[in-house]
């Protein structure tokens, strides 16, 4: 098969990368920016639409929406990055080792992981969160992270199984390389494209999940803003101030869309067919 030319990443790819970096920077440095306090209630400007003073308008308590969206992004970013860090730190080494060792170790681990996959993520997190009070951001992160492990395990195991059967892995084994060396030097570099694109898609999925949890009132408690609970609070004043729903929704969707797009482009770029959304 002749080697095909790699698909170019395109300008849109870099726009999306820029958008994500901008979002992360804003979230990190939110406290240092000249923003109105997201909790400050200005009763002279309740439910005002976009204006020069409040670029995206104010909510039903007179709080600045732009500032709340920026501070709210902290919740989504913290939970999604944290949860995926947990899921990948556990899921990646175990799945790679399982694919290399095979045998009973692989069989038992895979059966257990697939059983946990049967729990829909949202039900699992909702039920554990409801039993484990009081709710906090780190608990949401830990639970979502733990319940994402099986998914990471499945994707990475499939990918590294394909690599583990290659000649160069056999060659390394014959030369007496340790498992650790094979995993790090032979398998890891070859599954990195899948790893990265799945990581991005995973982060996007957790942002959506946290949004849904916040929407149900099961994530961080108000008045701390998050994209999900802003949309939840806004639904009671839909008829008066639709901006309240529209702006956080746009922020959330653009963030998820950018991550999905970057993940998708990277996958095409490296021509990886194993992972599908």
């Amino acid at each position: 098969m002749k080697p095909e030319k790699k698909k170019p990443l395109g300008i849109l790819f870099w726009v999306c990368v820029g958008w994500i970096i901008l979002n992360v920077l804003l979230a990190v440095f939110a406290s240092f920016l000249p923003l109105i306090d997201p909790l400050y209630q200005n009763y002279n400007a309740v439910n005002s639409g976009p204006s020069l003073h409040h670029l995206l308008g104010t909510d039903d308590l007179g709080r600045d929406i732009l500032s709340r969206i920026i501070f709210g992004s902290r919740v989504s970013i913290f939970v999604s990055f944290g949860a995926m860090a947990i899921a990948f730190l556990v899921g990646v080494p175990t799945s790679m080792l399982a694919s290399l060792r095979r045998g009973r170790f692989d069989k038992i681990l895979t059966t257990v992981m697939y059983s946990f996959l049967a729990f829909p993520a949202i039900i699992a997190t909702i039920s554990v969160l409801s039993f484990w009070e009081p709710r906090s951001l780190s608990k949401v992160t830990i639970i979502v992270g733990i319940f994402s492990i099986p998914l990471v395990y499945r994707v990475i195991r499939t990918a590294s199984l394909a690599v583990a059967g290659r000649e160069y892995v056999t060659a390394a084994k014959v030369q007496g390389a340790t498992d650790r060396r094979i995993l790090i030097r032979e398998i890891l570099p070859n599954i990195t494209p899948i790893l990265v694109s799945f990581l991005l898609i995973g982060i996007a999925a957790v942002v959506a999940l946290e949004g849904a949890l916040a929407f149900l009132g099961l994530s961080i408690n108000p008045p701390t803003p998050s994209w999900g609970n802003m949309i939840n609070e806004a639904r009671t004043v839909l008829d008066v101030n639709p901006w309240l729903v529209i702006f956080p929704s746009i922020a959330l969707v653009l963030f998820i869309l950018s991550l999905n797009f970057i993940g998708d482009r990277l996958r095409n770029h490296f021509d990886v067919a194993e992972v599908k959304i």
């Binding site: 049967a118 699992a124 039920s127 409801s130 929407f215 009132g217 969707v253």
Partner: protein, 316 residues
């Protein structure tokens, strides 16, 4: 063939076992005396004795599990100490609403996805195909709870269509027309997510199948496009569609929570969120068991269907 199905059945039982342990163990995640937490304000020595007898809380934990699973097999998920109703009955009263929403949403999703995917796959990279692919990629990034809020905003608030907003649910038997209109927006919301998934999966598989030699053969015999599409290409291309439909429909039970919560539709999700807010732990446990069990069974059912569509599966 028998071997394959038997193997699947064993896996199914193993998974159901894990699911039951997970649901059972939930209550023991709580620190302190479970009886106190389950009973809440109703805690007194009499109710505690009743509960201890019902759940066997004085026994070691593995015996408690057997007591509990034995009750489950007899259709007894316990009686809520908050609403004083049997948990199973509460669930069975709610579930038809979810089923109705899921059925409507799947009719819409398949009805739109199959013809559109066929048109897209027939001419890959045509304007229509590009538009649909880009559109479905964007929709993929819009979570259900945003879809439903925006639909409510546009349809019931701005356009003022009656019986579509929050708290307008009426049972089917009372007024079928009003019932359907109150479930319209939630069903569309569930349909959007399903449509995007089905369209993308079917389009990519159909495009692949249409390049196969047996399709060229069929074309050269002069068989009509329509017949080639439905009789020759659709069946081999539908295997992964069925696979993703199985996973998706199971997930719909879970994602239905959000639309029910927003519109106050008394389905299973509404009950769960209510149970969480009133600390009705037995009801939460019952719903978790019921929904995850159903998800597993639905997945199994689809594996079974796929087996009949493509018997080669069993050779792997």
């Amino acid at each position: 063939m028998g071997r394959y199905l038997l193997q699947r059945l064993v896996t199914l039982i193993a998974i159901l076992f894990v699911v039951s342990i997970g649901s059972f163990y939930l209550i023991h995640l709580l620190p302190g005396d479970p009886a106190f937490l389950i009973l809440g304000f109703n805690y007194n020595p009499v109710t505690k004795a009743v509960l201890d007898a019902q759940l066997g809380l004085n026994q070691p934990i593995y015996l408690q599990y057997f007591t509990w699973i034995n009750h489950v097999f007899h259709g007894n998920l316990g009686t809520s100490f908050i609403s004083h109703q049997p948990v199973l009955q509460t669930i069975l009263r709610a579930i038809p609403i979810d089923l109705e929403m899921i059925v409507i949403s799947q009719i819409i999703a398949f009805g739109a996805a199959i013809p559109l995917a066929m048109r897209s796959a027939r001419r890959p990279d045509s304007t229509l195909d590009r538009l649909l692919s880009a559109g479905s990629f964007i929709l993929l990034s819009v979570p259900g709870f945003i879809v439903i809020v925006l639909l409510v905003l546009i349809v019931s608030v701005k356009l003022g269509v009656p019986n579509t907003g929050p708290s307008t649910y009426v049972p089917f038997m009372e007024n079928p027309f009003q019932n359907l209109s109150s479930l319209l927006l939630p069903s569309i919301t569930l349909a959007v997510g399903s449509f995007v998934l089905y369209f993308r999966v079917l389009r990519s598989d159909l495009t692949g199948v249409l390049q196969e030699e047996f399709i060229t053969m069929a074309r050269s015999k002069g068989i009509s496009q329509r017949r080639i599409m439905w009789r020759h290409a659709f069946r081999p291309a539908s295997v992964s569609l069925l696979g993703s439909a199985g996973v998706n429909i199971g997930g719909l039970l879970a994602s239905g929570f959000i639309v029910e919560f927003l519109l106050a539709i008394p389905g299973i999700g509404f009950i769960l969120v209510g149970a969480i807010n009133t600390s009705d732990y037995l009801l939460v446990q019952g719903v978790v068991l019921f929904v995850s069990g159903s998800v597993v069974l639905i997945n199994f059912l689809f594996d079974f269907i796929i087996f009949f569509v493509d018997p080669r599966i069993s050779r792997d």
